[in-house]
């Protein structure tokens, strides 16, 4: 209870009762935009990340379930441009740096810094996306080739959808930062945009490890 003072107010009963002596807590001095777990929007985003993480986790369960049934996993003739994918993962990991800088700049209300780092992060994201899409066209198997193909294409497709959505969001924020009007709540939005980006990156690290560090797959590579 921050500052109790007596003033004109009623008891919570809606029939307005005359009780000028009712104690009050005045909240008019409290801020309207805060960061981190104090903000409802942070909880909303964390909830969404929990939902999507569960989805990815179940997809991995599906992967291992199908793998457990198979005698040969992955099936013959699977090739994945491993070095290029690894390099692309590196670029994706690198993008965490500028996105973290954006979050820091948003806390400081530093417009120039926000613009600069967000453009950098967005460009890195778009490079990753471009390489990913190009690799789709060049995959040696398809979703309807076999169960392995189905689950790997679904994992790739679902994660790429996340990349697309997060990149569109990045682009919109770039436009916002140059065109405006920038409202105070956008600072929180920018920080959460970075948080979501970390999720997109981390989830790919896990998914990548499962698909491409699969002992069966490494065997094929050799």
């Amino acid at each position: 209870m921050r500052s109790a003072r007596t003033a004109a107010a009623t008891s919570p009963e809606s029939a307005p009762q005359l009780a000028p002596e009712t104690a009050v807590i005045d909240v008019s001095e409290l801020p309207t935009v805060v960061f981190g777990s104090r903000a409802p929007l942070w909880w909303g985003l964390v909830g969404m990340i929990a939902i999507e993480s569960t989805m990815f986790a179940l997809l991995l369960v599906t992967y291992f379930y199908l793998r457990g049934n198979a005698t040969v996993w992955p099936p013959h003739g699977v090739e994945a441009h491993f070095p290029l994918r690894l390099a692309n993962l590196g670029v994706l990991l690198l993008s965490v740096w500028p996105m973290a800088k954006v979050a820091g700049a948003a806390s400081r209300k530093d417009l120039h810094s926000m613009r600069r780092w967000l453009i950098f992060g967005t460009v890195l994201g778009l490079i990753v996306l471009g390489v990913r899409l190009a690799l789709f066209a060049d995959m040696s198997f398809r979703w309807n080739s076999h169960a392995y193909g189905s689950v790997v294409w679904t994992i790739l497709g679902l994660h790429t959808t996340h990349l697309v959505a997060a990149s569109v969001e990045n682009l919109l924020f770039v436009v916002l930062l140059f065109v405006g009007p920038i409202e105070r709540k956008h600072l929180l939005d920018l920080r959460l945009n970075s948080l979501y980006w970390y999720f997109v990156v981390i989830s790919w690290v896990v998914l990548f490890a499962v698909i491409y560090l699969d002992p069966g797959f490494l065997e094929v590579m050799r």
Binding site: A8, V24, R38, G47, M55, T62, I182
Partner: protein, 636 residues
């Protein structure tokens, strides 16, 4: 300040607040409303409309089964009817109606003005509505799903279910899961961040706890069915092989994914009902619920154990012994928290003679029916018995005892209890009692014989049975019971409609002496809920109120400000500004409708929907620039 000026100031404040939070009116207003009370009521009313449809389907099935070798419904129509009945009751009635009660009540109970994300909330409702309309328009076009409400593959796969029926089911799932996930986020964030000052976690009303546990269960259970229905649709549409054994897929995978959602689903329906009982009993016994801590821990334990039961639906699939033992143990274990709660309620009632108002009758009816359903549940947890009655009417009897007894009875009790709050009028006690007894008698008459039919070996999901089976008389009894049950529902509806017009006008608290915050404001509540955000000094806000209990001032009256408080102790933290009414949630729901319904016909539908949804989202988040613009040295 003199009394007269004080009055005038107060009236002025009330008017300003009313203008700021006013619900939009007219046709446009209908589509742009984002108030939690309106959205909550829409959920409840829509769910009851679907409940009636589901009930009519149930009666059709009972008519068909009333005598052997009947040809009232042909086998194909019967398959559609039981599939649509099950899907309706689970996805379009039971889950949404509980969500609606939560969306309506939780913000009132925690003392705030709306849910945390009002536009998202409206989007959830529109999604649900589109899903329901999709299912029923398909059903009326003879394209109703017909592979059971759990759509087991290979029956539901491309080979054995050509046509669009199962695709309709899969997309209906998508819409209703969207809505459930939205509600879960709303409830979690509203509960964690928008509680009135003083309402620390250990002072939250038990109904709020139950909705919080439910919301977390939705969060982790629903993604399973999203994924399952997605890959089922892909197997059917673009020839993936998840469930195709010929190419390395597996049909049992479907059952795992489905029941990893499906079993928690039962608790998602049941746990809110527990919260309703815990809200009704203190009012009528005039004492706190016995064992608050035990109650909360039981709810949380149920939430966790609920995720460890799914395989008991799959005992007939030939699982390893160890797995069977584990899931048997878990299935028996979940009886413990349920037993703790029933014991706590009985202790609450101990030595009291509560007035047998209609809500209390429904609670007592719950005890009788739910305990019976729980007992057959413990029986079914044992593998040998389970195998004996698997896929028989015994299982049908069991889950109707648990779902109707465990959820619908408390729900109807809750509806009678909160009806005056939501409408400003009381329901008729006489009609309420008549409907209760009709429902109670009709229910037992319908479903008790099914235990015996199941033990005699009558299988589920068969459209008829031979005369020499000897099942005719019990089936006829069940059909008679079903019509008595239907009559009970009819009396309930008459009571609702009649009470809306002629019911006795309810004051703030028609039950006199209720402890919850929601009973401190007018009925129906004003659009802003609380003129001043209240503060709370105990678990039963109105009972524990101190003479000098403070209220919160300093929130803007000219824009939609709410108070955000700390997650654990609910100390005032900051002010948040909620959006004004808007049509974008509806447009986003329509865009996703285009995508997912389009996907039934062509995979490109997803792309159209994605583009439309992106446009809708950009419109939704378009900066208005009228709020708290930042002044940088060079604002763009």
């Amino acid at each position: 300040m003199s009394a007269a000026t004080f009055d005038a100031t107060l009236e002025q404040e009330q008017k300003t607040l009313e203008r700021t939070w006013a619900q939009p009116s007219g046709l446009v207003g209908f589509f742009t409303n984002i108030d939690h009370k309106t959205i909550g009521l829409r959920y409840v009313v829509t769910a009851f409309v679907f409940f009636l449809f589901g009930g009519i389907e149930a009666l059709a099935m009972r008519l068909q089964l009333a005598r052997p070798e009947s040809h009232l419904l042909n086998p194909d129509l019967y398959n559609q009817v039981f599939t649509v009945h099950g899907s309706t009751m689970m996805f379009l009635f039971a889950v949404p109606v509980m969500e609606g009660m939560g969306i309506y009540l939780v913000p009132l109970m925690v003392g705030t003005r709306n849910v945390a994300f009002p536009r998202l909330n409206a989007f959830g409702y529109w999604s649900y509505l589109i899903g329901g309309l999709l299912l029923y328009s398909s059903f009326f076009l003879n394209t109703g799903p017909d592979a059971g409400w759990f759509a087991y593959v290979p029956l539901a796969g491309p080979e054995y279910s050509p046509g669009k029926r199962v695709d309709v089911w899969a997309q209906m799932i998508t819409f209703t899961e969207f809505s459930a996930l939205v509600v879960s986020i709303e409830l979690i964030v509203t509960t964690f961040k928008l509680r009135a000052p003083g309402m620390s976690l250990n002072r939250m009303p038990l109904f709020v706890w139950s909705m919080l546990v439910t919301a977390f269960m939705i969060l982790f259970a629903m993604p399973a069915i999203m994924l399952a229905s997605l890959i089922l649709a892909m197997d059917r549409q673009v020839a993936t092989h998840f469930f195709n054994p010929g190419e390395g897929g597996d049909v049992i995978l479907w059952q795992h994914l489905f029941w990893f959602f499906g079993h928690p689903e039962v608790y998602i329906i049941f746990i809110p009902a527990l919260g309703m009982i815990s809200s009704i009993l203190p009012t009528f016994t005039r004492r706190p619920v016995f064992g608050y801590l035990a109650m909360v821990l039981s709810l949380v334990a149920t939430g966790f154990i609920g995720f460890g039961l799914w395989v008991h639906h799959m005992f007939a699939t030939g699982l390893p012994q160890l797995g069977q033992s584990f899931f048997t143990a878990a299935s028996i274990m979940i009886a413990i928290p349920s037993g703790v709660q029933v014991s706590c309620w009985l202790a609450t009632l101990w030595g009291r003679r509560p007035r047998l108002a209609t809500p209390v009758l429904f609670v007592l009816g719950f005890f009788a029916i739910f305990v019976a359903g729980g007992l057959t549940g413990v029986m079914l947890a044992a593998v040998p018995f389970n195998l004996q009655v698997h896929d028989t009417f015994f299982v049908v009897a069991h889950f109707h005892y648990v779902l109707i007894g465990g959820a619908v009875f408390p729900l109807l009790g809750g509806i009678h209890f909160w009806f005056p709050k939501a409408t400003g009028r009381r329901m008729s006690e006489a009609l309420g009692k008549v409907s209760f007894w009709l429902l109670f008698a009709g229910f037992n008459l319908t479903f008790f014989p099914m235990h015996i039919l199941g033990l005699h070996g009558m299988p589920r999901r068969v459209y008829t049975y031979p005369a020499e089976s000897g099942w005719a008389s019990l089936n006829l009894l069940a059909t008679i019971g079903a019509f008595i049950l239907g009559l009970g529902v009819l009396v309930f509806l008459v009571n609702v409609v009649r009470s809306l017009r002629q019911g006795e006008v309810a004051g703030e608290d028609p039950w006199e002496g209720s402890p919850g915050l929601e009973w401190s404001i007018s009925s129906p509540p004003p659009p802003y809920n609380y003129l001043y955000i209240p503060t709370v000094a105990g678990r039963y806000a109105l009972w524990d109120r101190r003479p000098d209990q403070p209220v919160v001032t300093g929130l803007s009256r000219t824009r939609r400000e709410i108070l955000v408080t700390g997650t654990l102790d609910a100390e005032p933290d900051h002010r948040d500004i909620l959006p004004n009414p808007t049509v974008w949630p509806l447009l986003l729901a329509l865009a996703s409708g285009v995508g997912f319904i389009g996907a039934i016909f062509t995979p490109w539908g997803i792309l159209w929907g994605a583009v439309a949804a992106a446009i809708a989202l950009i419109g939704w988040f378009w900066p208005r620039g009228d709020l708290q613009r930042i002044h940088f040295e060079e604002q763009p």
